[in-house]
Amino acid sequence: MSEFDFEKPVAEMEKAIEKLKNINSDNKTDFNAQLADLEAKLIERKKEIYDNLTPWQTVQVARHQKRPVLFDYIKYIFTDFIELHGDRHFGDDHAMVGGFAKLGNEKVMLIGHSKGKNIEENIKRNFGQAKPEGYRKALRLMRLAEKFNVPVITFVDTQGAFPGLDAEERGQHEAIARNLTEMAKIKVPIITVVTGEGGSGGALGIAVADSVMMLSYAVYSVISPEGCAGILWRDASFSSNAAEALKITAKSLLELGVIDEIIHEPVGGAQTDPQQTAENIKEVVLKQLKKLSAYSATKLLNKRFEKFSAMGKFNR
C-alpha cells in the first residue's frame, strides 16, 4: 500500500486492483486481462513517480521507518560477522557498529552507523547518531583492518553526529577531524555506501573512501534541509526549497563528482524489497573491491589524495 503523499496517484489504482482481485475470486469471472493491464499501468505509473521524486520527497524515502538498517544488510549479504566493540578510551557506542565479515568470498572490515527500527532499538542505538567514542571505535577498526590487510567497507546512515553535551565534552570535533585525517593514510581499500541519510560531518567521519556509492533514494548533505531552511530562509517550512537548493540526491552528487556510482534500489524504496536492495549493494561493492585490490598501497593513497584534492569548484 502507498505510504507517501506523493504516491496518492497510485493509491487509487491499487484499490481498484484489490477490488478486481476480490471479484475475480468470488465470481470466477475472467477479469484477468483487465487486472494484468491495470497492474502493468500501476508499475509504470509508480516508476514514473519515483523517477521524478523531488529532493524533499527523496528525503522522505531515505528516512522511511522501515528502510533497511545496517543489521538488515548484515543479515542479507554478509556472513560470519564477528562484531568488535569499544574505542579503548571511553566506551562502546551502539550507534556505530563494526567487525570482521565476509561478503561473498571477500574478507572485509565492516563499519557502519546503526539505526534501529523501533523505539527500544533506536534508544539503544541513539537513532544512529554516533558520539566521539563511535568515531574512535571506527578508526580503531580501520587501523585493525590495515594491520590484517583486509579492505574496509563503511555503511553510512545517520542524521548526523550526536549534538549533545557529553559528545562536545569528549571532543566530537576532534574525533571526526581525526578520522578525516587518518583515513587519508589507511593503506587498504576503503569503500563507502550511503544507504539512507548521509548527515554532514557525522557521515563524512567514516566516508573518506576510495569509492563512494549511494543508493538511489539515499541523500547526502552538509546540513539537513530543515536546518538549512531555518538558517537561510529563517523558516523550517522552506525545507523543500532547501532540499532542492542543496543538491542532496544521488543523481546530483554523481554530477558533482562527490560519489562514484549509484546503486539501484527498487521502485517504492529499499523497504519494499530489502533483499534485492542488499543484493544490488553486494554486486557493486564486490565489483569496486576487485578494481581497488589491484592497486598498490602507494597508488591507492595517491589516488585517494587526488580524489579529495579535486573536490570543489572555484575560480582561479
Binding site: E168, H173, A184, A245, F308, S309, R316
Partner: protein, 278 residues
C-alpha cells in the same frame, strides 16, 4: 528650529564622533578609546575580551615585518550549485563580501617568518561570509599545506569560522576531507602543523583541520565547539552554562594544548617551532 530637531542632529553628530573615537566591547559593554583598543591588538583593555581582527591585521602582528608573501590570492568562490536562498543568490553574497573586505576568500595564505623561523601560514577572516569553508577556502588551505610539504616548512592555520558554507552544499562538506588530506601529508613528512583557534571556531572547521594540530592553541574566551548551542539545548532539553564551548572549557577537556593571550601568540609560536629539530 524646534528644540527636538536640534537635539536629534546633535545626537547624530555625537554618534559619528563616537564611532571614530570609541569602541564598545562586546563582552563587558565598556566604551574604550578606539586607539587604545587598536594598540591593544583589538583586546578590550577593561576585561581582556579578544575582539575579531582581519586576516591582514593577524598577519601583521604574527609575521616579521616585510616577510609575508601571499600565495594564490586570486582564488575566489564560484557558484557550483547555482544556490539561491530566501534572501537571494549566493553570488550576490559573495560580491558583497568581496566588496566589504577587499578579500577574494575567507582565508589568506602565504609564507613568511616568525621571529626568523620560516613558515607557511593560512589566516581565516570571519568578515568574509562568517569565515565559512567553501571550495575556494578549502583549495587555498590545501595548496598552502602542499607548499609546506614541498618546501619542508611548518604550517600554521589561524581559524575563525562558523563552519561549512551551506551555499556550496556537499562540496563544502568535502573541503573538510580535502584539507585534512593535506594535513595528513604534512604528518607523514613529519612536518609540524600548529592550529590556532580564534573566536569562533565551530562546526565543520572545528571538525577538520582546526582540531588536528600537533599543537592546538586557542585565544582566551573563543567559542570553540562542534554543534551549535541551541541545537544541543533542544536535543538534551537543558540549559548549558555560559562557560560551555569556550577555549577554557575545551582546554579543560583535553583538546587544546594551551590558551594564549593574543599579545603572546607570536613568541609562543616561535618558541614551539624552535624545538623542531629535523
Amino acid at each position: 528650529m524646534p528644540w527636538f530637531i536640534k537635539t536629534k542632529t546633535e545626537r547624530e553628530a555625537q554618534k559619528e564622533i563616537s564611532d571614530d573615537i570609541w569602541e564598545k566591547c562586546n563582552k563587558c559593554k565598556a566604551h574604550v578609546f578606539k586607539q587604545d583598543y587598536i594598540n591593544n591588538l583589538n583586546v578590550c583593555p577593561k576585561c581582556g575580551s579578544h575582539g575579531k581582527i582581519t586576516a591582514y591585521e593577524r598577519i601583521g602582528m604574527t609575521l616579521d615585518s616585510g616577510t609575508f608573501k601571499e600565495l594564490n590570492e586570486t582564488i575566489s568562490p564560484a557558484d557550483p550549485l547555482g544556490f539561491i536562498d530566501g534572501k537571494g543568490p549566493y553570488t550576490a553574497k559573495v560580491d558583497q563580501a568581496r566588496k566589504k573586505t577587499g578579500l577574494n576568500e575567507a582565508v589568506v595564505t602565504g609564507t613568511g617568518k616568525i621571529n626568523e623561523i620560516a613558515v607557511v601560514i593560512a589566516v581565516m577572516d570571519f568578515r568574509f561570509l562568517g569565515g565559512s569553508l567553501g571550495s575556494a577556502t578549502g583549495e587555498k588551505i590545501l595548496l598552502a599545506s602542499n607548499y609546506a610539504c614541498e618546501h619542508k616548512l611548518p604550517y600554521i592555520i589561524f581559524s575563525a569560522s562558523g563552519g561549512a558554507r551551506m551555499h556550496e552544499g556537499i562540496l563544502s562538506l568535502m573541503q573538510m576531507a580535502k584539507t585534512c588530506a593535506g594535513i595528513a601529508r604534512l604528518d607523514e613528512k613529519q612536518l609540524p602543523f600548529i592550529s590556532v583557534l580564534t573566536d569562533p571556531t565551530t562546526g565543520g572547521v572545528s571538525a577538520s583541520y582546526a582540531m588536528v594540530g600537533d599543537v592546538n592553541i586557542a585565544e582566551p574566551g573563543a567559542l570553540v565547539g562542534f554543534a551549535g548551542r541551541r541545537v544541543i539545548e533542544q536535543t538534551i532539553k537543558q540549559k548549558l552554562p555560559d562557560s560551555f564551548q569556550t577555549s577554557e572549557f575545551v582546554l579543560e577537556h583535553g583538546f587544546l594544548d594551551m590558551v594564549v593571550h593574543r599579545k603572546d601568540l607570536k613568541n609562543t609560536l616561535s618558541g614551539i617551532l624552535s624545538y623542531y629539530n629535523r
